[in-house]
């Protein structure tokens, strides 16, 4: 069997209270204690234990709620008013139902006794609650362990109450008097423990000041009233002398406590503001540390910021406006729709001047002509600029409804908080940027990988044609492509192409180009036809701003003729007999035009090959390679280098060119792919002669 001890224990407290109350009722109804001191003491003890059980139960049930000292004080005030009414009107009410209450009280009948019992229990209830509040206030914000004082006081209150019965025995009343004096001293000492008032804000202090003076006066009035020999005191005394004493002591405690509270609050008022500010800073720091943990996700961070902003200045809604180039973008709207937020943004930032403010400012919406378009009755706005690195990044906006105003405290709070928020937002953005950068680098790795796999991994070895190729990818992958096609019937095709744009999209187009030419070269021979067909295929897939420059050549080993067409690519350089010739048949780039204009513009030229004819295919990565002064490597420089090295073999020429470019571009970053392909014609006659 499993017992839920905790629940049982909690119920026990209620049960204990009810049980003892029942025993008390039973005892008082059936045991005539009159004149018997021990029996009366037992009766008093039962009353006190009932009160103690009630207090313990109240404390237990109160602990489950969050405590606001001001509301506790307020409750005490209300109870005091009730007490005042009870004390003042109890006589009249009792007289309505019973005759001669004052006389009969010594020997009441059952009905009257029950009435007395209920009345006394109401008083016990009030007293227990008041005492419970004292206890809660006493331990509020106490740092040191001060149980001893309070517990001692409880013991003496108990003793003073119990010994009150001795007042009928003058020779023993010194005991009672001693206890009372000690109790009062302890009450005064304990009433000084009111450090909790330091932690409430100025506004609350002012209300506390008024409350405490009222409550203190009420306690004094009730105290005087209840010590009078009116019906109330007679009833209570007849019920239990100890209860009457306990009531007196608690009211005295109240009068002293709230009296002291009043003066302390009064003296605290001048420094309240400074204290508030300090407290504000502390809580801002707490918020700040919360922001730091959120910095990993920008959206979470923005949500947290608006959430805190709402709490910080008791606003109804909050959102962030981020400056995005010249646009303002609403994010993280809390308790407000995008539509409303955007409407309000238009109002706030309708003039440029607003955007120059560097401190929190307020705005009333009464002049906003679109106010009926809003779904909620927003009336006041507070706008805090978010500034990082001396640059305005956006605004934190808070809105209140129903004519509620923002005050200076809200302004200060928002000022401080928006500083922290700006830093957090900036950090988050930087983090996101570096993550994005990393992602981009990964993407570029993929693009480079695609490119590497597409390009031929070695140069074909052909008897009549010496081939060398160099490819150097830029950091941001370009779309350079070259390829060789060893065709049937003693023919050989080559292509060089450059896809516009960079990165992974260029790499994909390049892959597509390879596929297109791989298949087209198997079906068609004519360079012009192949380029025209390629253009038609690309029409379906290229987006409008992407195009491809290409040049395709076909060498017929038998007839020793090169056929060449060019679609917008750099000229092919032919070095022949110590002269440089730019071969530049007309032709529009692939993907620029899909009409007959493309077909009509495309030339196909034929060149009869001569011994040592050197064809240089390249992309603009070479001629546009930049030095530190942003000057181009240039056509002339390129041609000069080619001429200087023309007598070397193809690899030698390529190396020389690359060395020159490296020298020229030192200390700068390569901004585009570099592709260089060199073909040198070795006549079949010579070769043949050597071979046989």
């Amino acid at each position: 069997m499993i017992f839920n001890f905790q629940r049982l224990f909690k119920n026990l407290k209620l049960q204990a209270f009810l049980g003892i109350g029942g025993i008390l009722l039973f005892f008082r109804l059936f045991v005539n204690a009159d004149g018997s001191l021990p029996l009366m003491i037992i009766s008093d003890l039962l009353v006190l234990i009932t009160a103690a059980a009630l207090i313990i139960f109240l404390i237990e049930s109160l602990n489950s709620m969050t405590l606001n000292p001001l509301s506790l004080v307020m409750n005490v005030g209300i109870l005091n008013v009730i007490l005042f009414c009870l004390i003042t009107f109890s006589g009249s009410i009792f007289k309505l139902f019973f005759d001669n209450v004052s006389e009969r009280i010594q020997n009441p009948g059952v009905l009257l006794y029950l009435a007395v019992f209920v009345y006394s229990f109401i008083i016990i209830g009030c007293m227990s609650y008041i005492f419970m509040v004292f206890k809660e206030l006493y331990f509020l914000r106490q740092k040191r362990n001060v149980n001893v004082y309070f517990n001692t006081m409880i013991v003496f209150i108990f003793l003073a109450s119990v010994t009150y019965i001795l007042k009928d025995y003058p020779e023993l009343s010194f005991i009672k008097n001693t206890f009372i004096i000690i109790t009062i001293i302890l009450i005064v000492i304990n009433s000084l423990k009111i450090s909790w008032i330091a932690f409430i804000v100025k506004k609350e202090k002012i209300s506390l000041l008024i409350l405490s003076v009222v409550i203190s006066v009420l306690f004094v009035v009730n105290l005087i009233n209840s010590t009078d020999s009116n019906l109330h005191s007679k009833i209570i005394y007849s019920f239990s002398p100890a209860l009457s004493q306990l009531t007196t002591i608690i009211m005295l405690y109240g009068a002293i406590y709230f009296g002291i509270l009043f003066f302390t609050v009064l003296f605290h008022l001048p420094t309240a503001e400074a204290f508030d500010r300090k407290a504000q800073e502390v809580s801002s720091l707490q918020y700040f540390s919360k922001l730091i943990t959120e910095v990993l996700d920008f959206n979470d961070l923005a949500d947290t910021i608006t959430e805190i902003a709402v709490k910080l200045c008791n606003a109804h809604a909050s959102w962030i406006v981020m400056k995005d180039d010249s646009d303002l973008k609403t994010i993280a709207n809390k308790n407000i729709g995008f539509v409303d937020a955007n409407l309000l943004n238009q109002f706030i930032f309708r003039s440029e001047k607003r955007e120059k403010r560097y401190n929190t400012f307020f705005m009333k919406l009464e002049k906003f002509d679109g106010i009926e378009k809003l779904s909620e009755k927003y009336s006041n706005l507070a706008i805090a600029p978010l500034i990082a690195h001396n640059e305005l990044k956006g605004y934190l906006v808070a809105a209140k409804k129903n004519e509620l105003l923002f005050d200076e405290e809200d302004k200060n709070a928002l000022d401080t908080f928006s500083d922290y928020a700006s830093v957090a937002i900036e950090n988050s953005r930087l983090l996101e940027e570096s993550i994005e950068k990393e992602r981009l680098e990964k993407e570029l790795d993929v693009a480079r990988e695609i490119q590497r796999k597409i390009l031929p991994n070695k140069n074909p070895a052909i008897d009549n044609l010496n081939i060398s190729s160099v490819f150097i990818p830029a950091f941001e992958v370009g779309g350079d492509y070259f390829d060789f096609f060893d065709l049937e019937n003693g023919k050989f095709g080559f292509i060089i192409a450059d896809v516009s744009g960079k990165g992974i999209s260029a790499a994909f187009v390049m892959a597509e180009i390879k596929g297109i030419f791989e298949s087209l070269t198997k079906v068609y021979e004519s360079p012009k036809e192949i380029l025209v067909k390629a253009n038609n295929i690309l029409k379906r897939t290229l987006d409008r701003k992407t195009f491809v420059s290409a040049a395709y050549g076909l060498i017929d080993f038998k007839s020793e003729v090169l056929k060449l067409s060019r679609a917008g690519h750099c000229p092919i350089i032919l070095v022949r007999d110590g002269n440089v010739e730019n071969i530049r048949p007309t032709g529009i780039g692939l993907g620029l035009n899909f009409s007959s204009k493309f077909v009509d513009s495309m030339e196909e030229i034929e060149i009869k090959l001569k011994e040592n004819d050197t064809f240089v295919l390249f992309t603009d990565g070479i001629t546009e390679a930049k030095n530190v002064d942003l000057e181009d490597f240039g056509d002339h420089h390129f041609e000069r280098v080619l001429l200087e090295s023309i007598n070397e073999n193809v690899d030698g020429i390529a190396n020389k060119v690359m060395r020159e470019i490296t020298e020229f571009t030192k200390n700068t970053a390569q901004h585009d792919d570099i592709t260089l392909v060199i073909l040198k014609w070795k006549s079949a006659h010579n070769k043949g002669g050597e071979k046989i």
Binding site: V499, S500, R544, F547, S549, G568, P571, N593, D620, L630
Partner: protein
Amino acid sequence: MAEFNTSVNDKGEISVVSLKGFLDAHTANVLENTFSNLLEENKYKIVVNFEDLSYISSAGLGVFMAFIEKVRENGGDIKLTSMSDKVFNIFDLLGFPLLYEIFKSEDEAINKFKE
């Protein structure tokens, strides 16, 4: 990163877009925005002045391709003027002179529109 910016001057119903700096993959979106704005205002007669343009990359050329169709569908045109030899050479290699009217001076282009 090199700078690039555009400025738009309206001469009657013709909008003259002047380019300055380096037009490449990183700055192409600036020109895209300029064209988008013009098209939004239903301005389809556009002259682009290349006088202060130092460099144009393939991505920069792509911007013209992205808009020319829509401009011509609406009875307008993009005419190019005042290119340096270097910039013209890039356009020329790709066959742009077959697709666009390219003029020596801004006035020639504007007059051509007025014809």
